[in-house]
């Protein structure tokens, strides 16, 4: 059982109140529906028989059966409404939970060594996850209904017309067990293929639209649209194949049920003619069979729905790589009463998976006290890898990193690419921590973004990010710096913080930051050493590796 399947069961268990209520309602509704038809049938024939003579007509109690019929009818109508509401509520709650829990897991890992497909994950978490609902809605709940209706039907039949069981048992067995298995065997495979085809089709469409200019200039539009149409037709054909198979099985099932109904009717009439069965009960049994057959037809897709739901779970499990081992925090945080911060790297070895050579082996270095350290070196020398190790995004194969910090916190990290969330500027700065407006404006003014922020249409509440206000490269970097300023931690790591900024601005900014962060331990990766202040230390990467 995969991790997500277990988690699903756990969530189902946690939601058991709602889930059980939904199933119970479904069973009650089904019973009420069948009983309604059966009682009404009995009532009519009994009344007709009673009406034959004036005496029985007077004595016939038509109020009680009438009330029963009305009762069943209300129960069925109200029951179905309540059942649908509770069962959908139960599933959607579960899916909400599942969605955010998968996100929680994804977010607990850094994905530096092995990036995950964000587009695919996003669409899986948004849409595909809804296929999970079929486990409860289309498998568990109807499954229970079908089993209990079969039991009830066979019970009543056994009581009034035992000889009908000879035919009812095998037919019900086939409809409830064999047909669903056959259905799932025939339908799952084209469904799977269809799933892949549809997603390829989407990619082709998206590729067509997003590459429009290239396709037009190279006279490839016709070819691309042809490809898309062909794919769509293939997918449509497959879809119809799957649906045809479904309907074929449904037809087979119906034929079996026809045989059952005719047989029951024949036997009932026969029994009535032999006077071993009340004629009114004969009609009751016929209508009971018709009503039960309508419910039993729904058994067909149960097994397939279960499988489709489980497959959706497995796809999610796969896309989020939930089977991978959980990563532990690779760094060691040592709380200290001393005001001095220390970053101790001992015997650090790191090698990217699948690469022949380690980026560095046995790296030792201690950064201690306050002050700025500028790590320099050409690209590819391992600066960014070192940063990722210090930031805890990568975990070294050997050696360890100890962080001693008076504020008992890991370093604040400014990565090379600053992610701008599609959210208001305020949220982009706070990142779920609480800061006062005053603090925000102060941080913005240190990085000289205050004027920019004031000019935004809604100030701090202006939405940034994709499709919203998009800051330029340099502005984004400064936004990243403002975030670090707000976090105000003892140790600060900056990875290429000045790329994309114009030189004069960068110079002003870093002079100001040097002042502001006098008491902090700051480690910077950079190409631009002209930003270094006179009292700061430069450490070439080459020197680090050889020590």
């Amino acid at each position: 059982m995969t991790r997500l399947q277990k988690h699903y069961l756990y969530l189902l268990w946690r939601n058991k109140g709602f889930s059980l209520l939904g199933i119970m309602m479904a069973v009650i509704t089904a019973y009420a529906g069948i009983a309604l038809v059966a009682t009404a049938g009995w009532f009519i024939s009994a009344a007709a028989l009673a009406g034959l003579t004036a005496v029985t007509a007077m004595a016939f109690n038509y109020l009680t059966p009438g009330a029963i019929v009305r009762g069943f009818s209300m129960a069925r109508t109200a029951g179905r409404y309540a059942e649908r509401l509770t069962s959908h509520e139960a599933t959607f709650r579960l899916i909400s939970r599942l969605r955010s829990d998968i996100f929680r897991f994804l977010a607990s890992r850094f994905w530096v060594e092995q990036p995950f497909d964000r587009h695919q994950t996003g669409s899986r978490l948004l849409q595909d996850i809804q296929h999970v609902e079929s486990i409860y809605l289309s498998a568990i709940s109807p499954g229970v209904v079908v089993v209990s209706v079969s039991a009830g039907y066979l019970g009543v039949l056994g009581y009034f017309l035992p000889e009908a069981l000879m035919i009812a048992l095998p037919v019900v067995g086939s409809v409830v067990v064999i047909m669903p298995l056959l259905y799932s065997r025939l339908v799952i495979q084209p469904q799977d293929e269809l799933h892949t085809l549809r997603s390829t089709q989407w990619q082709t469409a998206s590729s067509l639209i997003s590459n429009f200019r290239t396709l037009v200039l190279h006279d490839r539009i016709a070819k691309a649209t042809d490809d898309l149409t062909t794919q769509a037709s293939r997918a449509d054909g497959l879809e119809v194949k799957a649906v045809n198979r479904q309907q074929w099985i449904a037809f087979l099932t119906q034929v079996q049920l026809v045989i059952l109904i005719v047989a029951v009717f024949y036997l009932a009439l026969n029994a009535a003619s032999l006077q071993t069965l009340e004629p009114a009960n004969a009609l009751m049994l016929l209508l009971l069979s018709l009503g039960s057959a309508e419910i039993l037809v729904a058994a067909c897709p149960v097994v397939a729905s279960l499988q489709l739901g489980i497959r959706a779970l497995n796809r999610l499990n796969h896309v989020a790589e939930l089977e991978a081992k959980d990563t532990n925090e690779p760094r060691e945080l040592i709380a200290s009463k001393a005001t001095q911060s220390t970053l101790q790297l001992s015997d650090l070895c790191y090698q990217y998976p699948g690469q022949p050579d380690p980026v560095f082996a046995h790296l030792n270095k201690q950064f201690k006290g306050s002050g700025w350290y500028w790590i320099t070196g050409p690209s590819g020398s391992g600066k960014s890898t070192l940063m990722a190790l210090l930031a805890g995004q990568l975990s070294a194969q050997l050696g360890h990193i100890q962080v001693v910090s008076a504020d008992k916190q890991f370093p604040a990290v400014m990565p090379q690419s600053i992610g701008v969330l599609r959210a208001p500027l305020r949220d982009n700065l706070c990142l779920h921590d609480d800061y006062s407006d005053e603090q925000l404006w102060q941080a913005l003014s240190i990085v000289e973004l205050d004027q920019w922020a004031r000019n935004l249409p809604q100030g701090l509440d202006t939405w940034l990010g994709d499709g919203e206000w998009q800051p330029s490269g340099g502005e984004t970097k400064r936004l990243g710096l403002a975030r670090i300023l707000l976090q105000d931690r003892g140790i600060i790591l900056l990875d290429e913080p000045s790329a994309g900024m114009d030189a004069a601005l960068a110079q002003r900014l870093f002079a100001r930051l040097a002042e502001h962060w006098q008491q902090k331990l700051v480690i910077v990766n950079t190409h631009q050493t002209f930003l270094m202040q006179s009292d700061q230390t430069e450490i070439p990467m080459s020197a680090l590796i050889t020590t």
Binding site: I44, A107, R198, A232, F251, V258, P279
Partner: protein, 582 residues
């Protein structure tokens, strides 16, 4: 459909849908016939059951129906199932036909329109429209379309059958039927609002998910991913609540339909019961026996069954109407777009002179007139803040848009380059994110032409992408999936540049090609571009950043038309947030 001049474009979504449905008229007709066959069989079943039961009760000594009668019963039941089965088959094929038609219809407009030139049509939205939105109308065209008619015909058939034995029961049915229809209309009206809200919540959730998965890092580094997961849960719950709102309405309508049906069936039952007991004697043509009683009682629910099925399928209509609304938007944009110019063959580009050129949308310029002259091997930088119309100008120069004003002079002659294949062949275009197709690297480079592998690698080498390609699994056969696959932004740009080296366009237009690249990659890219220029290519590149001017021979400052710029870009920003979907 291919004539594009009919002025009466589809005024309502329903008109568009019914126009498309005409492509499967024959299927729809057969489907209706099969539906009528089903209802006939249902009536026959009621007749069979009623008459045999009647005999069972009143006949003495009772004789079992003969073999022929039983064969009839089996025949009736099997025919009914078979008709149902065939009806769904026919529906499936009708659905394929209609959806194919719609897809081609939409594709035709998308391509004729050069949809990419309209930023209000987002890539994901149009892709959804062309694929999943049309795909998921399976049920609408397979079932709903035929059922719309059957929901009228089938109850009428039942009514006629009932009227043949009794007149009170048809009256009861006739009075309750319209009540159900009125109620359904009311519900459908309210459901529209709820499902629009639901769609909005879904889009919000989708945007949030996509964005947070993309920008996970800042939250991870601050350690507030738990809070983000909670925020996501909250939005997910908002979506659940709005979905439940839609479902509550749908379920309620189902329940009310069922309630009406149950009440009237009960009315029929009570009427029959009291009649039998001799409480009154009205409604029947010729007395009332058990036969009539059972017959009517079995028919009563069948009167409502088609309406109830229609109610259950109703959500399909809502989806189909949403699709049609989106298609109409596309159609309207297409109607407003410029018509295709007659094609003529343009000379090989030696020099380009642009005089007071203005580009824009539908005869409305977005920037001040620009003028410049460019010869082989020269490079021009188009400078200006975002929103000044740099992309629009480049699109116009590429011949993708009509010009609003001014002249483009090629080799000394005023030329209309709009939609000229001979112009397209000479122009290369590189936008901010490299345009890479969903296909193999080879297809991406050759784009339909034939080249030897060595030639491809040579082009890749010139673009500094050879070692990159050699390291990929399958090399030239590596399939670039959505979003560039394993390729980073810089790598994707290098592949796109290799394409330029391969096809050697005379004029290369670049739209902020380095905006998404880090400093170093951007510098490398510019070095490779220098190589193209030295081979005699003309470069026009737009940027809002400062570039080292030694690459460019001239710099043109693009200015937005004052009145338009700010308000336009602002409304643009607003509309993107409020209408996430088409």
């Amino acid at each position: 459909m291919s004539d594009n001049n009919h002025s009466d474009r589809f005024s309502t979504p329903v008109k568009l849908l019914s126009y498309a449905e005409k492509t499967a008229r024959a299927e729809s007709f057969i489907s209706v016939l099969l539906g009528l066959l089903q209802v006939t069989m249902t009536i026959a079943l009621a007749y069979w059951v009623a008459s045999h039961l009647h005999h069972a009760v009143y006949q003495s000594p009772y004789q079992l129906p003969d073999a022929e009668s039983w064969a009839y019963l089996v025949g009736i039941l099997v025919t009914r199932s078979l008709a149902n089965f065939l009806q769904s088959r026919i529906g499936n094929y009708a659905s394929i036909k209609i959806r194919n038609y719609l897809r081609n219809w939409a594709l035709e407009r998308t391509t004729r329109l050069n949809i990419r030139l309209f930023p209000r049509f987002k890539v994901a939205e149009v892709s959804n429209l062309l694929t999943s939105e049309i795909d998921k109308q399976f049920g609408y065209f397979a079932e709903y379309v035929a059922h719309r008619k059957l929901a009228v015909y089938m109850p009428v058939a039942v009514l006629i059958a009932a009227a043949s034995v009794n007149w009170v029961v048809p009256l009861i049915l006739l009075f309750t039927g319209p009540m159900m229809v009125v109620f359904m209309v009311l519900v459908g009206w309210k459901a529209g609002d709820a499902s629009r809200d639901n769609l909005q919540q879904l889009n919000r959730l989708g945007d949030l998910l996509t964005d947070r998965l993309k920008n996970l890092q800042p939250l991870q580094l601050v350690g507030t991913t738990e809070q983000e997961a909670d925020a996501l849960f909250k939005q997910s719950e908002n979506y659940r609540r709005s979905t439940m709102k839609v479902l509550r309405i749908a379920f309620l309508s189902g329940t009310v339909l069922e309630f009406f049906a149950a009440v009237s069936v009960a009315l029929v039952a009570v009427y029959l019961g009291l009649f039998f007991l001799g409480k009154y004697d009205i409604g029947s043509w010729s007395g009332l026996t058990l036969f009539e009683g059972v017959f009517l009682l079995m028919l009563a629910p069948e009167f409502y069954a088609p309406l109830r099925k229609m109610g259950a399928l109703y959500h399909q209509k809502t989806d189909a109407v949403t699709l049609a609304e989106h298609l109409i938007k596309l159609d309207e944009a297409d109607a407003a777009a410029a018509k295709v110019a007659s094609s003529c063959s343009l000379p090989d580009i030696q020099s380009i002179r642009v005089e007071a050129l203005i580009s824009g949308n539908a005869n409305r310029g977005v920037h001040r007139p620009v003028s410049f002259e460019l010869n082989a091997g020269e490079a021009l930088l188009l400078k200006g803040p975002s929103g000044t119309g740099k992309t629009t100008l480049l699109d116009t120069l590429a011949g993708l848009r009509t010009q609003v004003g001014g002249k483009i002079i090629v080799n000394g002659e005023v030329t209309d380059v709009f939609r000229q294949q001979s112009w397209y062949r000479q122009v290369g275009y590189m936008p901010q994110t490299a345009e890479l197709l969903f296909g193999s690297l080879r297809e991406n480079l050759t784009l339909g032409s034939q080249y030897a592998d060595e030639v491809l690698f040579e082009a890749l080498r010139a673009a500094n992408a050879e070692s990159l390609v050699r390291s990929l699994p399958g090399q030239l056969d590596y399939v670039i999936s959505d979003g560039g696959g394993r390729l980073s932004g810089g790598q994707a740009q290098r592949i796109a540049l290799a394409r330029v080296f391969l096809h050697q366009p005379s004029l290369l237009l670049l739209d902020e090609p380095t905006a998404n690249l880090d400093e170093q990659t951007a510098q490398e890219f510019m070095q490779q571009l220098e190589l193209y220029r030295r081979r005699g290519g003309m470069v026009i590149m737009s940027s809002h950043l400062h570039h080292k001017s030694d690459f460019f021979d001239q710099v043109v400052d693009l200015e937005a038309l004052a009145s338009v710029s700010q308000s336009e870009s602002e409304t643009q920003a607003k509309t993107t947030r409020e209408t996430h979907s088409l």
